[in-house]
C-alpha cells in the first residue's frame, strides 16, 4: 500500500516532537505537586506559572486570565455555565448561540435550556456564517451569555466574532467564543476583540489530548463546575496537570510563530486540492466556498454518493478523512452544521471533510486529487446500479 495520507487534522494532530521534549521532565524528576511547599512543589509551580504566562502571551491575555482545563469540552462548559448564575442574578435569562456550534457548546446550551434558560439561535447563511441581520432579533438586554465559535470545525468558515461581540457587550451580555479551530489558523488576540471568554484545545495544535484552556477576562464572575481545592483561584480545582500545561504552552507558541507561513502553505495545498477535485468532479459542492475560511479545512459533497461508503473506501486506500460528525458508536450521521446551512439532505449525507495540517505534503494532495475522483466515479456507478 502507498504511504498513508492523514487528512483529519481538524479531528486531532500528532503531538509535536518539541512538545514531547518540553513535557518529558515532568514525567521524570520534576514530578512535584504545584501546591506543595517543598522544592519539588516549587519547581512544579514555577513550571505551571510559566506555562500560564506563555499561553497568556499567545492570546494577548494576562496570566491570571488563563485557566487550564482537561480540554475544549470542559473549557466550553465552564465558559457557558461559569458566568450563568451571576448573570441570572442580574435578571438575564437567555443564552444565544448558533446551530453550527460544536456539540460541546450545543449540548451545554441545551442542558442550560432544560434548566429554564431561554435558548436563542442566531441564523446561519447558506455559506455557513452567522447571518448578522439576525443579531437585532436575538440579542437584547436579557442575554446572559452568547457563545459563537470563531472557526467552524466542519467547513472552516470564519465567523464575524468582532461584530457579534460588539453587539453583545453593548447589551451587557457575556461573550464566549470557541476558538479551538481558530487558534493558530487566524489571529486570535483578546486585546483586539473585547470578548469575555475564549476556548482553546491542545490536541488540535500538536499538544496531547486532555488539555485545553479557557481565557477568562478579569472581572468576569465564574462559578466553578468542579468543587475542591483552591487551585487556579478556585475556578478549576484539582491538582494541575503540569506536563500538559507545559505542552499546551509550547504548542501554542509554535503555532503562533509558524502561523503565517504555515497558513500560507496550507492555503496553497488546500486550494490545489480544491481546484483539482472541482476540475475532475465538476458538480462537486465545496461547502463554505467563497466565504472567508480557515486554510486547513475542505468540506466536499458529491451528489449520488454517501460519506459512510466513501470514508471506508478512502481508509482502505490509506487516506484518513472524516464526515461532519461521528456519534459515539463511530457511525456516520448527517451533519447538523450542513443541515443548519440548508444543504440538501442528499448532499449533506455525502459530505467529506478533509483537514490539512503539519503532516500534509504536496504529494498527499496530488494523490488525493487522483484517488478521490476515482472513488467517486465508482460510487456513482454503484448508486446508479442500485437505484
Amino acid at each position: 500500500m502507498p504511504q498513508p495520507v492523514y487528512l483529519d487534522h481538524a479531528a486531532t494532530t500528532p503531538v509535536r516532537r518539541e512538545v514531547v521534549e518540553a513535557m518529558e521532565p515532568f514525567y521524570g524528576p520534576r514530578f512535584g505537586n504545584p501546591s506543595s511547599v517543598h522544592r519539588w512543589g516549587r519547581e512544579a509551580r514555577a513550571a505551571l506559572d510559566e506555562a500560564r504566562e506563555r499561553v497568556a502571551r499567545c492570546l494577548g491575555a494576562r496570566p491570571d486570565e488563563v485557566c487550564f482545563t482537561s480540554g475544549g469540552t470542559e473549557a466550553d462548559n465552564l465558559a457557558i455555565f461559569g458566568p450563568l448564575r451571576s448573570q441570572q442574578k442580574k435578571g438575564r435569562t437567555s443564552i444565544v448561540t448558533t446551530p453550527i456550534e460544536h456539540k460541546a457548546v450545543l449540548a451545554a446550551v441545551h442542558h442550560a435550556a432544560r434548566d429554564g434558560v431561554s435558548e436563542r439561535m442566531l441564523d446561519v447563511t447558506r455559506a455557513g456564517i452567522v447571518d448578522t441581520t439576525s443579531l437585532d432579533r436575538v440579542i437584547d438586554d436579557t442575554v446572559a451569555v452568547c457563545t459563537v465559535m470563531w472557526v467552524n470545525n466542519e467547513i472552516g468558515t470564519i465567523q464575524p466574532i468582532a461584530e457579534i461581540t460588539e453587539r453583545v457587550k453593548a447589551h451587557g451580555g457575556i461573550m464566549h467564543t470557541d476558538a479551538v479551530q481558530a487558534f493558530g489558523k487566524t489571529e486570535v488576540d483578546v486585546r483586539k476583540v473585547p470578548l469575555d471568554l475564549l476556548t482553546i484545545s491542545g490536541h488540535k495544535i500538536g499538544a496531547p489530548k486532555g488539555v485545553g484552556a479557557v481565557f477568562i477576562r478579569r472581572g468576569t464572575q465564574i462559578d466553578p463546575m468542579l468543587h475542591g481545592g483552591s487551585q487556579d483561584r478556585g475556578r478549576r480545582p484539582g491538582t494541575e496537570n503540569v506536563a500538559a500545561a507545559v505542552a499546551l504552552a509550547r504548542a501554542a507558541e509554535l503555532a503562533i510563530e509558524e502561523r503565517d507561513m504555515e497558513c500560507t502553505r496550507l492555503a496553497t495545498l488546500r486550494d490545489t486540492l480544491e481546484e483539482g477535485l472541482l476540475a475532475r468532479i465538476p458538480d462537486a459542492v465545496i461547502h463554505g466556498r467563497g466565504t472567508p475560511r480557515a486554510s486547513h479545512i475542505l468540506n466536499i459533497s458529491v451528489p449520488g454518493t454517501d460519506s459512510e461508503s466513501l470514508l471506508m473506501a478512502l481508509d482502505l486506500a490509506g487516506v484518513a478523512a472524516s464526515a461532519g460528525s461521528a456519534c459515539q458508536s463511530g457511525s456516520v450521521t448527517p451533519s447538523h452544521v450542513l443541515t443548519a446551512m440548508g444543504v440538501r439532505p442528499e448532499l449533506a449525507v455525502a459530505a467529506i471533510r478533509m483537514s490539512l495540517g503539519s503532516l500534509t505534503t504536496p504529494e498527499d494532495v496530488a494523490r488525493v486529487v487522483e484517488l478521490f475522483p476515482a472513488l467517486i466515479a465508482k460510487a456513482r456507478r454503484l448508486s446508479g446500479m442500485a437505484s
Partner: protein, 367 residues
C-alpha cells in the same frame, strides 16, 4: 490479490468466529457492525445502547488486525423492519423481523457497502451453508438458521460465506477460545428480537403507534361461533397457538386460533382447531428454479418446527399454496413458510393463512 470479504459483525460469538476463520483462511477481511436502532431516541443525550456490541466487534477486529467500520443503517432498518413489524402486529399477524432484516438489511443494504469497498464476498455468523449457489441448512440441526434466510436474492447466495454453518454452537464457542476471542467466547446468547428490549414487543408497538392504538386496546375473546367468553388487553399481545391469557373454564385446553383485527377479537378454540392441512404464503422467493405445481417438498412453518411433507397445489404470481401431508398446528399469519428438499432451501414466503383442509381455496382458519 486476496479476495476481499465484508463480514457483518454483531459483537457476538458467531460472527466474531466467522471473521477470525476467514482471516485464517487467507481472505482480506473487513469487519462491519450495523447500527440498526437506538433505544436512546427519547433521551437524546444518552449514548446509543448498541454501543457495547459495537465496542466488542471493534475489539475483536483490532485483535484480528483487520479494519472495522460502523454502518448506520438506522433509517433503512426502521423502515424495512421495525415499521413492518409494528404494522404486521396491528394487522393481527405475528411478524418475523429477522427474515426481513436478512432480506433487506444484511443481504441488500450491507451488500451495497460491500460493493463500495470492492468486497466480492459478504459473510455472516449464520448457521447455514452454501453449496454451488444453493443455500443449505446449518450442519447443527439444533442451531440451523436457514429458516430466516429464505428471502435473500438468489444471486446473492453465490457471494455469501457462512463459516460457522458447518459447526455446532459448542464448536463455535470452543473455536472462539482457541482463536483468542475471549471477549465474546462466553457471551450469553440473546433470544430476544434485537430491537425489542426485554421481549416486550407491545412497548415497541405502543411507542410507534401510540399507546391508544386499537392493537393494544381491550377487545373480546370469543369462540369461533362468535360467542364472547372474555376480554383481552390488546390483540397484538396474542399469537396463534398461545395459551397464556386465554380464559379457563372449558372442558379442554383452549388456544388462540385466530385474530380478527377488524373486530379487535381474539378467537379461541380447542387444539384440533389449530390444526392446518394447507398453507398459503405470499412474497414467495425462490432460491432454486421455480418448481411446478404438483411438486413434492418439505415445509417448515416456524423456526425449530420439524419439516412436513407437502405438495404445491397452486402458484400465482408471488403467491403459493401447499397441501400438507400431515396436519400442522398453529400455522401463523406473518411467520415464514420455508420449502426444503432435505438440507436444500428451495425458497419461502410469508404465511398468509393456514387451512383446515387441502381444498384449492382455503377458508380462513377457524372462520
Amino acid at each position: 490479490m486476496r479476495a476481499r470479504v465484508l463480514v457483518a459483525m454483531s459483537g457476538g460469538v458467531d460472527s466474531s468466529v466467522a471473521a477470525a476463520m476467514l482471516v485464517e483462511q487467507g481472505y482480506d477481511v473487513i469487519g462491519a457492525t450495523m447500527k440498526l436502532f437506538c433505544y436512546g431516541d427519547d433521551v437524546p443525550d444518552r449514548p446509543c445502547c448498541s454501543l457495547d456490541s459495537i465496542n466488542d466487534a471493534r475489539r475483536v477486529c483490532e485483535g484480528l488486525g483487520i479494519p472495522h467500520y460502523v454502518l448506520n443503517l438506522e433509517s433503512a432498518f426502521g423502515h424495512d423492519v421495525i415499521d413492518n413489524f409494528v404494522s404486521e402486529y396491528a394487522a393481527g399477524r405475528t411478524p418475523i423481523p429477522c427474515v426481513r432484516c436478512n432480506t433487506f438489511t444484511k443481504f441488500r443494504d450491507l451488500l451495497h457497502k460491500a460493493d463500495a469497498v470492492d468486497a466480492s464476498w459478504i459473510a455472516t455468523g449464520h448457521y447455514a451453508r452454501t453449496h454451488g449457489g444453493e443455500l443449505l441448512r446449518g450442519q447443527d440441526p439444533g442451531k440451523d438458521q436457514s429458516y430466516f434466510l429464505w428471502g435473500i436474492d438468489r444471486s446473492v447466495v453465490r457471494r455469501m460465506l457462512l463459516p460457522v454453518g458447518d459447526m455446532s454452537k459448542a464448536e463455535t464457542r470452543a473455536r472462539a477460545r482457541t482463536l483468542g476471542l475471549q471477549v465474546v467466547a462466553d457471551k450469553v446468547e440473546s433470544q430476544d428480537i434485537c430491537f425489542v428490549p426485554d421481549g416486550d414487543h407491545a412497548k415497541v408497538i405502543g411507542r410507534r403507534l401510540g399507546a391508544d392504538t386499537p392493537a393494544l386496546a381491550p377487545g373480546p375473546v370469543m369462540l369461533a361461533d362468535g360467542r364472547v367468553v372474555g376480554e383481552h388487553d390488546g390483540y397484538a399481545r396474542y399469537t396463534i397457538g398461545q395459551r397464556r391469557g386465554v380464559p379457563g373454564g372449558f372442558a379442554e385446553a383452549m388456544y388462540v386460533v385466530a385474530i380478527r383485527p377488524a373486530e379487535r377479537a381474539v378467537v379461541i378454540g380447542p387444539r384440533e382447531a389449530l390444526l392446518g392441512h394447507g398453507v398459503v404464503a405470499r412474497e414467495m422467493n425462490w432460491l432454486v428454479d421455480r418448481l411446478p405445481t404438483g411438486s413434492r417438498v418439505e415445509v417448515q412453518v416456524r423456526h425449530r418446527a420439524p419439516a412436513t411433507p407437502a405438495h404445491i397445489v397452486r402458484l400465482e404470481g408471488d403467491e403459493i399454496e401447499l397441501a400438507l401431508e400431515a396436519p400442522v398446528a398453529a400455522i401463523t399469519p406473518g411467520q415464514s413458510l420455508v420449502l426444503y428438499d432435505g438440507d436444500r432451501v428451495l425458497g419461502g414466503g410469508f404465511i398468509e393463512r393456514g387451512g383446515s383442509s387441502a381444498r384449492t381455496t382455503l377458508p380462513v382458519i377457524a372462520a
